[in-house]
Symmetry: C2
């Protein structure tokens, strides 16, 4: 069974998945790096992933994933029609996904093939249709919803998420995009486990009942 999974999605204590004012220098706006410090402390590579509970949780991101769906704001800071198509994401020539990636956008552009098995498809689609395409591309493996906040909220509203790992970071952003808007009663559809770690974050893990 191909699951729909969310991993390492950080929110502030007041529920913002990103700050205000995304730009090339600040992909998360005024939140800057504060939502993801816990992740960067874990370190890269297999040894880094072994650093305690934060590392173990971070490591869940990769195994068994056959495709990712992300929003256009995760792919880049541009808005509206593409002025040029030279932007290839924030991640350099070999992004970390190594699977097909479906970028939800009202402004499709040609498929972008990059190194390491990264293929970006730009589609204007509902969550259901995007998931259908991603599942087909995933060859029986799971599909990851990579964010940002708005995309994750849409998939939650459509009740398409099977597993969701949220990381609550003890900062108060005050503004940005709220993950939990419209999520009333979400807890009734999931078993929820919370684990605080010495880094100060709390991992909140939603598993579909």
């Amino acid at each position: 069974m191909s699951l729909v999974r969310v991993h390492n999605f950080s929110v502030s204590l007041d529920g913002f998945g990103t700050g205000e004012g995304q730009s090339l220098d600040k992909p998360f706006g005024h939140a800057d790096k504060r939502l993801h410090e816990w992740f960067f402390k874990v370190g890269a590579g297999p040894i880094g992933r072994l650093r305690g509970v934060d590392g173990a949780m971070a490591a869940g991101w990769e195994p068994g994933i056959g495709a990712e769906i992300m929003g256009r704001n995760k792919f880049g800071p541009q808005r509206g029609p593409w002025e040029d198509e030279s932007w290839e994401g924030w991640w350099g020539p070999n992004p970390p996904f190594h699977t097909p990636v479906f970028v939800l956008t009202h402004h499709p552009r040609p498929t972008l093939e990059m190194e390491g098995g990264n293929t970006f498809h730009f589609i204007d689609a509902t969550p259901e249709e995007a998931l259908r395409q991603a599942r087909e591309a995933a060859g029986g493996l799971d599909v990851r919803i990579g964010g940002g906040t708005d995309v994750l909220r849409q998939f939650l509203a459509a009740d398409l998420v099977d597993y969701m790992h949220i990381v609550v970071v003890p900062i108060l952003l005050g503004r940005g995009e709220r993950l939990w808007d419209g999520a009333e009663g979400l807890d009734e559809r999931f078993d929820i486990e919370s684990v605080s770690t010495p880094s100060g974050v709390t991992h909140v893990i939603f598993t579909r009942k």
Copy 2:
């Protein structure tokens, strides 16, 4: 030094300190009892308070407190001018405070003396002025901000809180009163510790730097 303290203040994962639609039957509106189940599981009395981390945290509420400040909506579900003054709170003839209690309201009424050292003063005052009066009444002991959400938010905005114990309950209320509105950057003024417990809640403890 007399501290200003908050204890056992529960919020949903989406940051609501109370639900929508307070009434005589449902003091927390559509949240009903869900924000405080962790507390009622702890049990009353000294033995109950010994039940694990939830119990230890709950027990911090009483010692060293000489007065409480609460909002009128914590005192009762009425709004606007008092239609009669027979309402004496939700707690029966001997409320659990056993100190002077200052009820913030735009509609003052005569002081209410109840059993067990509970004296309710109804005052129309700023947070600063309410605190001045509560400190005077507390005889050198600490002052507890008892809530509700709006009152706590006012005291946070005025930077009057020294210690704050928030309990994040893994439910999504979707509507009600948001504790964290206007709290941007609050984390910079506090050391923050988070501890999840087997009951599923996460205690988040703010201690002034």
